[in-house]
Structures are given as C-alpha cells and as structure tokens.
C-alpha cells in the first residue's frame, strides 16, 4: 500500500470538510446579491470569516479571502509596498520606501513578488542573514533598521518554513520592526494547524494562510490584514473583501477553509504529541540506517510535522524515484514548471552547498500519519540510499 509522507505539499481533504463543501455547493446565490438567496450565501461567507478569526485570534474584518497562499503572499508584498509609497514622490523611478526585507529561505510566492517589485517598481531587496537552522539574525536586523528604517517598505518573513520546518519568532521580529514603524508580513501557510498561531499576539501587519495544507480543498486561502495595516488591492473589478480583493465570493470554499482551520487548530495539541513521537522515531530510524545524514534546522524552534534530511552522496531525484518506486511519497526542493527538481533554494539560503541542497528529502506528516507510515519509509530507505549513492550526481 502506498505511503503518503508529503503532507506539506498538500494533505488529503478531511471527510467532514468534503461533506460540508458538497452541501454548500448545492446552495444557490451570489454573496453580493441583495435578494434572499444572496443573503444566505453571504451568511455562509461571513460565518466562515468569523470562524477563521476565532481560530487564529484576529478580528473577523481582518480576514480577506483569496484563492490561496500564493495570492495572499503576492497581495501582501505588493499591496503593502504600494501603500507605503502611495502619494510619495519617486526619485528616478525609485520610491522613497524602496526596501523590502525578506529572506532567501522564503517560499517563491514571496521571493518572486519581491523580485517583481525590484524589476518593475524600483524596489530594493535586502535579504536578512540566516543561521544554519534558518533563524534570522535579529541583531543585524535592528542595526539595519536603525540606519535605514525610513527607506523600508515592509519586512516579510515566514512563520514556519515549508521545507525545513524551522519556526521564526515573528512576534519578536514584529516587536522590533514596530520600534521603527515598519510593517511585517508573515507567510504562515506551513504554520497554521502545525504550531500555535495567534495573529493578535504576533503584532504582524498581515499574515498568509491556505486551506490545502490542513484538509481543505486547493483554491481557498486568506490574507489576514490587520485593521491598521494599509494595503492596496492588486485585483480590480469590485468592492469585495474590503475592496482589497475583487472577485465573486466563494461560500462553499470559504466554509471549507474555515472548517479545516477550525479542526486543525482544535486538534493541534493532540497532533503535536503525535508528530513529536513520529518525528523522533523517524530521525532515530534514519540515523540508524545512514548515520552521516544531516537533519536540517533542528537547532532552533521547529515544526514536528516537517523533517528535512540531507542524505550524503545521494541525489534528491534518485531518492525520490527509489522511494516512489517502493510506494513511499516524499519530496525535496520545489520543482519548476518543467518538472525539474532542482537544488533547494532554502537549503542554499541556510548556507548549505548546492550539492547538499540537491541531496535533501523532506518528510512531512498529516493528522492521519501513523507509525506504520514512518516504518514503511524506513523499510524503503536502505535500498534507496544504496542505489542513489551508486547513481551519483548527474547535475552538480
């Protein structure tokens, strides 16, 4: 039987969410319509907003529904950058608050919008130094802000890293940035449902989340936009979602997202206990089979449901192939649109060599993951490691 250990890529939709989603799909009505059908549909959307707000501790009005994490990250980075420079004169195409501070370990959904701002809007990207466990250097950040805060549009740092599982103390980042009145966005897509997330306590200006990592269907996410945060909408065509995100509201998708967030948060403590045990079993097992294996980002705060290994001398694509052939699904660095698995940019940002970053395997758990899944991985591992070592590297 196949073993799925790639929940950080996407996790199965919960049965209860499927039922709810199917039920809501049967209702008619555009949430923006004034008639009774529309009002009922609107009620579903607004209930979902309230449920999400409750689960992650934010104001219901701060929940802006989007199509998912990538859109949320784009909206946050581009929208805050635009607002922070709105009405201020540019000099030679460079806006006064041109700097976006982020890290090389962010998801492409943050890095690429920043690169777009650099190419198209005169922005300057500043990448915060990270240690080998993925923790940003806050002393460096304070020094940088002390000198340059007046030129900084925003800081974007992820709450939990989707590849390594390292957790950043975003509240500390936000507190530091607050001294300089710089807004902080955080991509919390890997964090929600996998560690404690409290928006109000975090001090963040905005925070991205998505449904399909926690048991909702692909295609629904949210950007939590603090009430004091100024953010320019990036999609025009209606006044939906506080005018920040035009597009017909999706009652069924919103309800499904809210249900998944609610379940994930409610079950968090129970799942953390499960995952902590599973992760220990996994790491112990791997170390017994391949003692030279590096477990990434275990030094600092980290998630229990994501574990990233560097298998010395084994290319990631060989490992993935061998494990997949044995019925075990895991992943490594993100694949490009041609399907090429390249060296993990996250590991490279943490200072690992390209060779090491091409040798990583990410194992990620969901709430249904069992000891049997871990053991299936460990059973398939010796052959995979041996074959991958023989195959060597074709690219680096």
């Amino acid at each position: 039987m196949a073993t799925y250990l790639d929940h950080a890529a996407t996790t199965p939709v919960r049965d209860s969410v499927i039922s709810l989603y199917a039920q809501k799909l049967q209702s008619i009505g555009n949430p923006s319509s004034v008639h009774g059908f529309g009002q009922k549909a609107r009620q579903v959307v607004e209930q979902a907003r309230e449920d999400i707000a409750q689960a992650i501790n934010c104001d219901r009005n701060e929940v802006v529904f989007t199509s998912g994490g990538t859109e949320s990250d784009n909206l946050a980075v581009k929208g805050i950058f635009a607002s922070r420079n709105e009405g201020l004169p540019s000099a030679d195409g460079v806006p006064p608050r041109s700097i976006v501070i982020s890290s090389g370990a962010e998801h492409h959904a943050v890095i690429e919008p920043i690169e777009w701002l650099v190419a198209e809007r005169g922005a300057e990207a500043v990448w915060i130094p990270l240690d080998s466990s993925g923790q940003p250097d806050l002393i460096w950040l304070e020094g940088f802000l002390a000198e340059n805060a007046h030129r900084v549009a925003l800081i974007s740092l992820m709450w939990a890293n989707n590849e390594t599982g390292s957790v950043t103390d975003v509240a500390a980042v936000a507190a530091l940035a607050a001294k300089f009145e710089v807004p902080v966005h955080s991509d919390a897509i890997a964090a929600v449902g996998h560690c404690k997330v409290d928006f109000a306590a975090s001090g963040l200006a905005a925070m991205s989340l998505t449904g399909h990592k926690i048991g909702a269907p692909v295609g629904r996410g949210a950007l939590i936009v603090g009430r004091k945060t100024k953010l320019q909408g990036q999609v025009q065509g209606g006044s939906h979602e506080r005018g920040l995100r035009a597009g017909t509201m999706d009652p069924a998708g919103s309800a499904a997202l809210a249900a998944a967030v609610t379940f994930a948060v409610a079950e968090l403590d129970q799942n953390l206990d499960l995952w902590r045990g599973l992760q220990q079993r996994l790491i112990d097992g791997v170390k017994a089979i391949a003692p030279e294996t590096v477990v990434v980002a275990q030094g600092g705060q980290h998630l229990y449901n994501i574990t990233n290994f560097i298998f010395d001398g084994c290319s990631g694509d060989s490992m993935l192939f061998m494990l997949d052939s044995a019925g075990v699904a895991v992943s490594n660095g993100s694949a490009c649109n041609a399907g090429v698995t390249s060296a993990s940019h996250v590991l490279e940002a943490l200072g690992f060599s390209t060779r090491a970053a091409s040798s990583c395997v990410r194992v990620s758990f969901g709430y249904e993951t069992t000891i049997a899944d871990i053991d299936a991985f460990l059973d398939a591992l010796p052959t995979a490691v041996q074959s991958a070592k023989t195959a060597g590297f074709t690219s680096v």
């Binding site: 061998m322 399907g339 090429v340 991958a388 195959a391 074709t394 680096v396």
Partner: protein, 378 residues
C-alpha cells in the same frame, strides 16, 4: 525487463515507450532537463529542452499509464555537449552535438543512472536496430526507414551499452507509420513536427549564438599561398566546404568558385581555394570506438563504408588502426569534411565503429591505389 524510457516530448520516443509497455516490460518514463534555464527557452516543436516538450512527454506517459519523472542533466549537458560544441568551434572544428549527447548523456550518464537505480535497459525513439549477429554478439544496424535512419548518431555506442538499449521503433519502415500509430493510440504528439537543428540554440540563430559564445573578431580570408582575398567578421561563421557568403570581391584567375578549405582559429584566418583542394582522401582520429565486436584484426586494412555526416551518403573505403589512429582511406574522394566531424564506419548495414576526425588528408596527397595490409605497429 525493467525499462527506463527516455521521453523527449516528441512522437518517436512516445511511440517507443508505448511499444515497450505493450511488449510487457515494466516501463518508467523520464524526461531529461538539459537546460537549467528552461523557463527562458523558447517553446515550440523542438523535440527537447522546452517546458512544452516536458509537458508533452508527461502527457504521453500519463496516457500510457506509466510513472514519469524529470531528471536534471543540465550541468552534465552543459559541460559535455554545449561547452564541447563551443570549444570545438573555437578550435576551428565542426562538432556534432547530437552525437556528443548520445555518447555522454543519453547512453552514458542516463544509462549509468538507470542501471544504478535498478533498470535493465533504457529505451529511446531512435531509428536503428540492435540485433544479435552470427557470432552471438549484439550489433547495431541501420534502420529500414532509411530516410530516418539514425544509426550514424548512435555510432558512439559500445558493446556494453548495446546490451542495455532498446529501440522499439528502430525497425519501423517509415516514420509515417509511427505517426499513424501515435494517432491511433491517442497520443497528442502524433503531428508534432520533427526537430532538426541544434536543441540548445535558438531557431535559425546559430551564427549569432556562436558569435556571442565564441567572440567575434574580424580577420582575413586568404588562399593557400597566403594572398589575402577578403575580410571576414568572425571565423566561427564559416564551415569547411562552404561556398556562399564569402564576399570575396574578385574572381579567381581560373574563374572557378572558391570554397572554404580550412579555418585557422589561432590566426583568425579563413583559407579558401578551388573545389579540388576540398577533396579528401583520408580521415583519421585517435578517439575511436567499436560499436559491438571489433574487427578480428583491426590493424589490417579491411573494406568498409564510411559516413561523415548524419544524413550523408555511405562511401566505400578501407580502414585500419595505424599508430593508434583509426585511419579511413576513401576509394573516391569526399568533399567538405572537417576535423571535429564524426566518421562512422559500416559493414553493409552494420555499424562497426566511429571516430571523431582529428585530421584529414587531401586526396591529392593520398595514393589512389588501394593500400596494402600493413603490420600492427606500422
């Protein structure tokens, strides 16, 4: 057998994989990513290297119900094929990158990886046949689809590699049959045009691409006597045997057209002369391999045929190893052959071996009489 099907996204490799599946093999599809920068490569009907090709290959694999992966060979490809191509051109030679790719990537790096990961063989959509010869050893033969025959570019395969390659469409008599089969199988690549030119160079842009990589410096065009006849804007833009585009203002004394005889990159000179001077009587190379069993005594001259370009004619010749070189003497002169090209030798339809041509000898300097057998150390 457990077979790894290399799927370029074109019709041939898709049908080849389909036939391997149908023959009852356990087949896994793989697309080779040969460029790191695939996003910037143009999409289109090229047969490899583009996002569209990767997706076409994946779609074909999906229809065949086989697992599919994309493996990154970009650095190996750059080092072994692209950089080699540039270095060869810089040295004034005329390389064949498809041959290098077969020699070092598809049937070397990919095959090694496949064997290490538990496969028995790799399968491609090449038109050529691997058959068991009378001695019981595997032999590579021309495809019956002579117009599509690709045995030339497979001439680099060794006896060991022949044991681990499968060409399921190699014996198909006509490409049209392959297309019809793809259509019947519902493979959407059925009507995808063939790829002809070099996959890593933007379409029709070889000269500009080379100019950028090799660097352009104007120089002189002269004849063998050293008389300067004209100027060129970069020696890389010329190939041996080329007649058009020389832009030499005045005609030769005998009124006959001039051809490029030689490119001397170190001096940045292009040497031209009459067609007779292009006639080559002997080819030789030290980097030769045997495709399957070597001749019983390769140090004795033996009759064979030689082909010097992918779709060229097969010419009668004699060959032997002389002083660590595979030397090929043509019965009749051949025109416009340049160092860097590959000479593949055949015994009837069988590919016997190949060498990269290191040097050529003008037909005027080679005795026309057939050579006598010479000793091993001659």
């Amino acid at each position: 057998m457990k077979i790894l099907a290399a799927m370029s996204g074109g019709v041939d490799s898709a049908v080849a994989a389909a036939r391997a599946v149908e023959a009852g093999h356990e087949v896994v599809g793989v697309h080779l990513a040969l460029s790191r920068n695939s996003g910037t490569l143009r999409t289109g009907s090229r047969g490899c290297c583009t996002i569209e090709d990767s997706m076409d290959a994946q779609r074909a694999a999906n229809l065949l119900g086989i697992p599919f992966y994309v493996w990154d060979f970009s650095e190996r490809f750059k080092a072994d094929v692209v950089d080699d191509f540039i270095a060869e051109y810089s040295a004034g030679r005329t390389p064949n990158p498809c041959m290098r790719c077969n020699e070092r990537i598809k049937f070397a790096a990919l095959l090694e990886k496949a064997l290490a990961l538990g496969f028995d063989a790799i399968c491609t959509g090449h038109y050529a046949e691997v058959i068991t010869g009378q001695t019981g050893e595997l032999e590579l033969h021309r495809s019956p689809a002579l117009a599509k025959d690709q045995s030339y570019v497979l001439g680099v395969l060794t006896a060991e590699e022949l044991k681990h390659v499968v060409f399921p469409i190699g014996a198909t008599a006509d490409k049209a049959l392959v297309r019809a089969e793809a259509e019947a199988r519902g493979l959407s690549v059925a009507n995808k045009p063939d790829s002809y030119d070099i996959c890593f160079i933007p379409e029709g842009d070889t000269q500009d691409w080379l100019a950028e990589k090799v660097g352009v410096a104007p120089g002189v065009i002269e004849d063998r006597s050293g008389e300067v006849l004209g100027q060129h804007r970069g020696a890389h833009g010329f190939t041996v045997g080329q007649r058009k585009g020389l832009q030499i203002g005045r005609p030769a004394i005998d009124g006959k057209p001039r051809y490029v005889l030689e490119i001397r990159p170190k001096e940045n000179k292009v040497i031209v002369g009459p067609q007779e001077a292009l006639a080559i009587g002997e080819l030789a190379g030290s980097k030769f391999t045997w495709c399957g069993a070597a001749p019983a005594n390769p140090f004795n001259w033996f009759d064979c045929e030689v082909q010097v370009r992918a779709h060229g004619d097969s010419l009668p010749a004699k060959a032997a190893i002389v002083a660590d070189e595979l030397v090929i003497r043509l019965n009749e002169p051949v025109f416009g052959v340049a160092p860097g090209q590959t000479a593949v030798i055949y015994l009837c339809s069988r590919v016997l071996g190949q060498t990269t041509i290191d040097r050529t000898v003008s037909a005027l300097d080679v005795p026309l009489r057939a050579p006598q057998n010479v000793g091993a150390n001659a």
